[in-house]
């Protein structure tokens, strides 16, 4: 696979590293090494310790025990600056950009070109343009403010920043979870180039295809422990990898179950509004799992935000469950029986300083009131424990602050928030972003259960395999317009992609 054969001596060695947080041993005596010129996948369930390991490399997390060797020398990094100086660049799982600065400034943050402290605007622009070209984002202007970019583009900026570090070791933490199809392709090219240049590339992902397509070696973690390393992908099967990750066999992740559909529950007629370039009409039936596919920025989220009362439509009608009319606020929609689980976990989903249980019960706690007056923390806790079990949420307890959970586990809590609502139509925007295979299986099952009960589910997903595998019908959007609605049987990945790509 690799164009340049990997060197014999590992450039990066992690020796017996342990990292402890209050209530959690995130890494437990981990040994691991990676060679220059290889792409090394790190895999494992949510909360297995992948991100923690990367943060040890970048000096963000301190080790309780153990050591790092880079190029044969022992290091303990006190902070991010030191790690950067030693040639380690990380693309973190959560975006770390400064929203009001320009793209160029974000790309070169921490190493702005300067003469005696004065920023060299020309060089800044040139370097930014160069790297944007390389990222395949040539149409992003370097002076654009980062907050005006889509999440995918922001993720690419994040990657560009790491590339500009010219680092010897470069680590990606679930980079593709918010990238579009083209962006993912571009990323794959970049990763390949990095490998060919003889760098150490660490690659964290939950997507099997990527591992088999891009990586030269894979290490699996479970519960903070190193489980196994495959130095070559030859002879390794997906099933084997999955069972090493989750400790059990999963035959078909998607496990689609067919069912009868009922009456129309949602009917959208010629809806117009921000983000849409043409009026949109579609129907969703009870018992149906309806998917929206499209490239990032195709307008799927915007469409469902208009439906769910997050933003107000400029025209068109919405009929839901016997009532006609738009919702003026998400609250109104939820009370009527539509809930939307947002796509951007960090900015739209979690309350970072609040506990898992407060995050989970924020909306549904109205069902747990005592005498209809004050809340019932006991029943809220029961509900939380219930979902901790159902979704295998890895947390020291229901009262742990959510910001200390791993990314995937935070996502599960947000999902549980909506799963515990009493709703008729459930809209999920990129629900499985960053979620491990085992848990995805559980989530799909919960969706099917909802549909079986006669409710309806709308899934927005950029994961082609996922939409085509779990949905009964799929609406494909492109550039703000609904292009076509495809039945499950006709929904081959090629067909969907063909519809979604600009003509």
């Amino acid at each position: 696979m690799g164009a340049v054969a990997a060197e014999a001596d590992p450039w990066l060695v992690v020796e017996n590293v342990t990292v402890e947080f209050p209530g959690v041993r995130a890494l437990d005596g981990v040994n691991f090494s990676a060679r220059a010129g290889e792409v090394h996948a790190l895999m494992g369930e949510n909360g297995a310790g992948k991100s923690t390991l990367l943060k040890v490399l970048s000096g963000v997390n301190r080790v309780t025990d153990g050591a790092l060797r880079v190029g044969g020398e022992r290091h303990v990094f006190a902070n991010a600056r030191e790690a950067l100086r030693l040639g380690i660049a990380i693309i973190y799982q959560e975006l770390t950009l400064s929203p009001n600065l320009s793209v160029a400034e974000n790309l070169l943050l921490g190493q702005l070109p300067q003469h005696y402290g004065i920023v060299d605007r020309r060089r800044l622009r040139e370097r930014a343009l160069m790297i944007l070209e390389e990222l395949g984002e040539g149409n992003v202007h370097p002076a654009t403010k980062v907050r005006d970019l889509s999440i995918g583009q922001q993720q690419m900026i994040e990657i560009g920043r790491a590339l500009l570090r010219d680092a010897r070791i470069i680590a990606f933490d679930e980079p593709t979870s918010s990238l579009s199809v083209q962006e993912t392709r571009q990323l794959k090219r970049i990763v390949k180039r990095l490998r060919d240049e003889g760098r150490v590339v660490l690659y964290v992902t939950h997507r099997m295809e990527e591992v088999f397509e891009m990586c030269d070696a894979v290490t699996v973690f479970r519960d903070g422990r190193h489980i196994c390393t495959h130095d070559t992908m030859a002879g390794l099967t997906q099933d084997q990898l999955v069972s090493e990750m989750v400790g059990r066999d999963i035959e078909d992740v998607y496990g689609y179950r067919s069912r009868e559909t009922g009456d129309v529950i949602l009917k959208v007629d010629n809806l117009e509004g921000r983000g849409l370039t043409a009026p949109v009409s579609f129907e969703v039936r009870r018992g149906e799992v309806f998917g929206f596919f499209g490239l990032v920025g195709a307008g799927r989220s915007e469409l469902m935000r208009l439906v769910c009362g997050v933003e107000s439509p400029k025209g068109g009608e919405i009929h839901f469950n016997g009532r006609t009319g738009r919702f003026n606020s998400p609250g109104q929609a939820i009370h009527a029986g539509i809930a939307m689980c947002p796509e951007d976990r960090k900015s739209q989903g979690i309350f970072p300083v609040a506990s898992v249980t407060d995050n989970l019960n924020i909306s549904c706690r109205r069902f747990f009131r005592r005498m209809g007056l004050w809340r019932d923390p006991g029943r809220e806790l029961d509900n939380t424990r219930d979902y901790i079990k159902k979704l295998r949420i890895r947390t020291p307890g229901p009262r742990t602050r959510i910001s200390t959970l791993s990314g995937g586990n935070q996502q599960k809590v947000i999902l549980a928030r909506w799963l515990s609502e009493k709703i008729e139509l459930f809209v999920m925007d990129e629900p499985t972003r960053g979620i491990d295979v085992g848990a995805r299986r559980d989530i799909y099952n919960l969706l099917y259960d909802l549909a079986d009960q006669g409710k309806a589910v709308v899934v927005i997903s950029s994961d082609l395999t996922e939409v085509s595998a779990i949905c009964d019908r799929i609406g494909v959007m492109r550039s703000g317009a609904l292009i076509d609605i495809v039945d499950r049987d006709a929904a081959t990945p090629e067909r969907l992609l063909g519809l979604a790509l600009p003509a």
Binding site: V24, G331, A333, Q348, V353, I393, P396, G397
Partner: protein, 340 residues
């Protein structure tokens, strides 16, 4: 910043065991107590030290005096806690106290009725609060600047209402409001206690309180989760105005006059008490026990300085130093706990 993130969960061993950490089995108030124990510890040590060192400190009459001296700050701190939990701030409270007091005095004198006067004053306060909430929620104006404007404006109203001079109250019944006593404590003290109980309850045991915290933690997420953020803000600011209005009316009654110049700088004292009590200015974090302790620490220090005859200028140094040390110590305890 980073230190903000970490939590107070106990050290465990096996990550997969999702067992409730030891403390989490305890009842809620006790847990809160432990959570804010850094500050509570400071308070207890301070209190004991003062009681031992200053003979007059622990006397009953001094305790009553101490309580009385923190009533305004304490009462208003309970709603300021809600405002801060929401991620907002209210600088207009001192002006509201003055305006409500003056209004109550004027209305009482004009109408001859204590009830109408008191209600009028309180209503004036609540109105200002609702207006603040409206400006902040409806127009998305930063609350610091909105309430700074209100602070000027309302102080001006207080001067205009009173003509610049303190307004004397002619109806004798009015004085009883401030001095009516029950179980040895006067109405202002009871009001403070009741506010602590009510807002402690609201914050912890109602959906409203949790929504306030959620909104403070991430307003966008809260709106998407169905919280009516706008209404919430108007209500919280309205409550703040209402409570400041009550405090103003009681103050006027205790003083026997509505003084438009009263309580200058009160807003900063109230906010410090809250922040000292662990309320995050960035929103989303608040504890009623913390606020109580914050208020008491500030009151004890001030009281002790009076008893010790500390010269005025040095009182500034002591207040500044205590504030800083208390926060530093709290921070240090938190960090130690994190490492443990």
């Amino acid at each position: 910043m980073s230190s903000d993130k970490s939590v107070h969960a106990d050290a465990g061993s096996q990550p997969e065991t999702v067992r409730p950490a030891g403390r989490q089995g305890l009842i809620k108030p006790l847990r809160t107590l432990l959570d804010t124990s850094g500050l509570i510890a400071i308070f207890i040590v301070l209190f004991i030290a003062l009681a031992v060192a200053i003979p007059d400190f622990m006397t009953g009459r001094n305790m009553v005096g101490l309580l009385l001296s923190v009533t305004i700050i304490g009462t208003i701190a309970t709603t300021m806690m809600m405002v801060l939990a929401l991620g907002e701030v209210d600088l207009s409270v001192a002006s509201i106290v003055a305006f409500a007091g003056v209004s109550a005095a004027v209305i009482t004198s004009a109408s001859g009725s204590v009830l109408i006067g008191a209600l009028g004053g309180i209503a004036a306060g609540a109105l200002v609060g609702v207006f603040n909430g409206f400006v902040v929620a409806r127009f998305g104006i930063n609350s610091l600047i909105a309430t700074l404007a209100a602070m000027e404006f309302v102080r001006g109203l207080a001067y205009i209402t009173s003509g610049g001079d303190a307004v004397m109250i002619t109806v004798p019944g009015f004085f009883e409001l401030g001095s009516a006593s029950f179980l040895g404590l006067t109405l202002p003290v009871w009001t403070m206690i009741i506010c602590f109980v009510i807002f402690g309850f609201v914050l912890n045991l109602t959906a409203f309180g949790r929504n306030v915290l959620a909104t403070g933690g991430n307003p966008e997420a809260a709106a998407l989760a169905g919280v009516n953020v706008r209404r919430l803000k108007i209500i919280v600011f309205g409550l703040q105005g209402l409570v400041a209005g009550i405090a103003g009316v009681l103050l006027t009654s205790r003083m026997g006059l509505g003084d438009p110049n009263t309580s200058m700088g009160l807003e900063l004292a109230v906010i410090s008490a809250c922040v000292l009590g662990g309320v995050a200015l960035s929103g989303g974090v608040a504890s009623i026990t913390g606020v109580l302790v914050g208020v008491l620490i500030m009151g004890c220090v001030q009281n002790a300085m009076g008893l010790l005859n500390v010269p005025t200028f040095y009182q500034y140094l002591v207040r500044g130093a205590i504030l800083l040390l208390a926060v530093l110590f709290d921070r240090w305890k938190q960090q130690k706990r994190q490492r443990a």
